[in-house]
Amino acid sequence: MTNQELINISMQIRRDIVRMVAAVKSGHPGGSLGCADFLTFLYFDWMNHNSEQFSMDARNEDVFFLSNGHISPVWYSALARSGYFPVSELSTFRKISSRLQGHPSTDKNLPGIRMASGSLGQGLSVALGTAETKKLNNDTSVVYSLHGDGELQEGQIWEAAMYGAARGIDNIVATIDYNGRQIDGDVEDVLSLGNLKEKWQAFGWVVYEMDGHNFDEIRKTFTTIGDSLGKGKPIVVLMKTEMGKGVDFMMGSHKWHGVAPNEEQLEIALNQLEETLGDY
């Protein structure tokens, strides 16, 4: 897929995100906007996945886990736009009886979702578990996961990091949304992660760094990662992003982590996000 095609998709996903959270006056637009480019890349360009016939078991398919489940809007939009369920269903987000729960769940059988997330810190362990099963099944497909940087404050992440390296799990690519912000403020002020690259390296992971808004760089990084798979070490990507990316007043602050825009703000935001594929 060309960069322009990817940009068009991520633009529409961003429109979906702000419309979804504005419609129910709740949800998490900041991190969702920041990860729109990455999920566009994974679902429309990179992963080998079957959106027409969703399979919980995902045999011989790449798998994606969203560990920081609060950015569900971006995931729901990427799933719907890539064919897992009707785009019109995005209008049910966070409403009663919807399959699009506030945080992702398997409870109502929404295609594309294999594990509930929202309570933070569990997704890396889950992803490693699925990676172990793929090895037992001689399944050479890859497990991808996404985590918030604030989420790395959860102790379980480091239990999982230790495990992944000790077991040499080399069919997983964990990506950290390194936007430097969490609900209460900058990660550096809330609880510093220290030198994150050295931490992961010390835990035995191969670390890549990339700009999460540059499709050339994302593709180049993941192509390089393709050669690192199967070499006895787990892989982590520190992905620099801007929380709120694409909507000027949502960028440069932690304040839009979990706040929905009002009608006036929505209009300003949508003026900055071109309707490329048609609104739901």
Binding site: G129, Q156, Y163
Partner: protein, 315 residues
């Protein structure tokens, strides 16, 4: 009651797991540095590629197990009951119960009979926590043979299961070929004066109590309620319609345990006097298993006196 031998229920789990490993290649086992205590060595030795030593990191173990189900594996996790539940409640809640994953949480050293290690390790709240979770099945087998049978039965059940067993060597009284059906209670004795419903080690304690009560001319209907959830309601109601009163016995806190589950069935369908043999809102302490049971009110004599109290209330 004929005693067929003496063994710990955890060894029943170990034997059952080893047989499952031979029979079903999708069965995998995870352990958090307690392989010997959980009797998982036979499985580990026979199937090293399907055994996952996770170290002392139970939260990671539970979520790993949940992830392993994607692709068709049936993970059995093994650690002490305390670290199988309280320590990892949120992991179980989100990744196993809510996500309906086919994980078997196998918990040893439950209750006071863990003994000398004391209250830090003697969890008495685990049945309550697990039975509160939607989608969770809770199984508490009574002896070595039944624990082995239950271990094999839960592998055939599609969904999350909590299997609770213990450390001490106790009499074996259930025949090895007795079928184990999840959710179907087992009548040990038939009687007419009083119902006793027990689970786990307390089934043997109740058998001892029944022997004493017989001498006093009291006829007991004794039910082994090896599945706490789903609870066999008809077994409870059929029995109390006959006896008119009931004693529940469990190696667990009265709050949240088997007795409360039974009380809910009775209050909705057939209110009648009930006495609870259970730990009364207290932590345990170090000591010999049977001494602790007596001190904390869940010994054989406590069952006998509970029966006498409930018979008085009935009349």
């Amino acid at each position: 009651m004929e005693i067929l031998g003496n063994k710990d229920t955890r060894s029943g789990f170990g034997e059952g797991l080893a047989e499952l490993g031979d029979e079903n290649e999708n069965v995998v086992a995870l352990c958090a540095d307690l392989t010997g205590s959980l009797k998982m060595n036979a499985f580990q030795n026979a199937h090293p590629n399907r055994f996952f030593q996770v170290g002392i990191a139970e939260a990671n173990m539970m979520s790993l197990a949940a992830g392993m189900t994607i692709g068709g594996k049936i993970p059995f996790t093994g650690t002490f009951a305390n670290f199988s539940t309280g320590r990892v409640y949120d992991q179980i809640r989100q990744s196993i119960a809510y996500s309906k994953k086919n994980v078997k949480i196998c918990a040893s050293h439950a209750g006071l009979t863990l003994g000398e290690d004391g209250a830090t390790h003697q969890i008495l709240e685990d049945i309550g926590m697990m039975r509160m979770l939607p989608n969770m099945t809770v199984v508490v087998p009574a002896d070595f043979n039944q624990t082995k049978q239950a271990t094999k039965a839960i592998a055939k059940h599609d969904g999350p299961v909590y299997l609770r067993f213990g450390r001490p060597v106790m009499p074996i009284f259930i025949k090895p070929d007795t079928p184990f059906v999840i959710g179907k209670a087992q009548t040990i004795y038939e009687g007419t004066d009083v119902t006793i419903i027990a689970c786990g080690h307390m089934v043997w304690k109740s058998i001892e109590a029944v022997e004493e009560l017989k001498k006093k001319g009291i006829s007991v209907d004794l039910i082994n309620m090896h599945t706490i959830k789903p609870l066999d309601r008809s077994a409870i109601l059929d029995s109390v319609r006959k006896t008119g009163c009931i004693v529940t016995a469990e190696e667990h806190m009265a709050n949240g345990g088997l007795g409360e589950a039974v009380a809910q069935v009775l209050s909705r369908n057939y209110p009648c006097p009930q006495e609870f043999v259970a730990v009364n809102d207290s932590f345990g302490e170090s000591g010999k298993p049977m001494d602790l049971m007596d001190k904390y009110g869940i010994g054989t004599s406590n069952i006998v006196s509970a029966v006498e109290r409930v018979l008085e209330r009935k009349s």
